[in-house]
Amino acid sequence: MPSDHDHKREEIAEEVAPLFEGGPIWRRPAAKIFVIWAIMTAIGVVIGVMLPVHIFPKMVSPQGKDALDTVVFFTVLAAPVAAFVYAIGLYSLLAWRKMSGKSDTPPPDGPPHRGSGLAEALWVGASVVLVIVLLIWGMGFLASETAPQNNVVQVNVTGQQWFWTYSYPGTGVTSNKLVLPVNREIQFNITSMDVTHGFWPVELGDQIDANPGFITHITVEPNQLGNFDVRCSQLCGLYHAYMYSHGQVVTSSQFATWLQDQGASVSSVTSYALGKN
């Protein structure tokens, strides 16, 4: 029994060759597979570019935009890879299906290819390259998010079983509605009073768990006016489904007047707005 490695050269040739013989270029198997692959890739890219934009809610912060861009980019990146596998699968059903499912005796044996070092090397190499691209993209966005600049507005978020309360330190205001000034760096300091909840301001595109006994932080800078919903993203018991609250990104002046309406003194609002406390 000749061992696998002796006849590697001819095996590849024999394996790949028939793909390029057999009449004019467009009729050869490799061309047909390429066409199927191209069509599927196009469909994948179109889906990636068109679909998420319409289904995602209207994001009001760069992080939200990052999440959307990541989905679009990864779909477009994945389309050719998936299409490659699907094209070969589809082609194998179209061209290499020798016997319909009815017969009880199998078709004659296929060629005894046990593997080809080239294909394996190319495949793993491509996978490594793709992983590196994914990694750079992910780490890049992550790095851009985590560096808070100065005059950061602090908001303390308290989760408890089935209710979110937001307090604005220094102004004495505690509210069930999360009102945020636009174009300001906001740092949320989040904790919980009983079990683990998930503080998830959906349209801000960021979330973190509210853990009892600990304070966790996320920093978001909303850059568009608009409403957003806060939902609980960690199962927290009976009324987890109803643990939502409402948020709004407003202009700095509207933010100051809102704080005063909630009973904050003017001086505390001005020092708070400058990010002192």
């Binding site: 408890q160 209710f163 009073m193 009983d194 079990v195 919903d229 018991g237 009324y239 109803y242």
Partner: protein, 225 residues
Amino acid sequence: MKRTVSTVLFVLLGAVVIAAIGVGFWSQAYRAPAGTQVAKSLGTAVVNGKTVPHVELDFSTYPDASGTMIGGQPIHPGGNPSWPAYAPTNKFQVPAGALVTVKWNQYDSGGALNNNYFAWPHGIYGPLVVNGKVTDHIDLSNVGHTFTVRGEPGVDSGFFVSVASPANGDSPTDTSKPQTVEFSFIAGAKGTYAWNCEFPCGLSIGGFGAVMSSYGYMSGYLYAV
């Protein structure tokens, strides 16, 4: 052909079995407290320029609600008849946008809130009257229960009502004279609003175990129709 018939029959049989299990679960889930308290009409009222129906809801909270709820206790499997509960039922129905006046008789004992935010009334229209006196908030360390309803995103996310009630004496058996709480609020748009009590009178972590996390005792729905 025979094969297709028996396949279809089997699938239907399977579907019937699954549906039967579904009915089993459904019967367990909402059997009690049965019924919905439809708010009593008190005519109409003028609220910031618009005439809206004026209705009244009255409910009470008992330390041991085994004998006081329509259709018996919320005998949700694992529930305990002697747990405190809102009576007569935990589901209320009010006309959308109506002015709702609530009369609440609070018999149960209580203690300190874990979040003082709930001591203050929120989202009410007009004064909060406790035992006949207008008060701006309930003593933080002596709260009985809270009635906290939250608006639903996409339906009426601005709607929010939260009112606490003072605890009633230290011994829960003193059911002679309740703490009375009276307030009004403007019902939100047509929809289903979930309410629950935010005073931790249960066991275990955060005091929200047992009665607090069993449906029907300290949690329910407010339907605006």
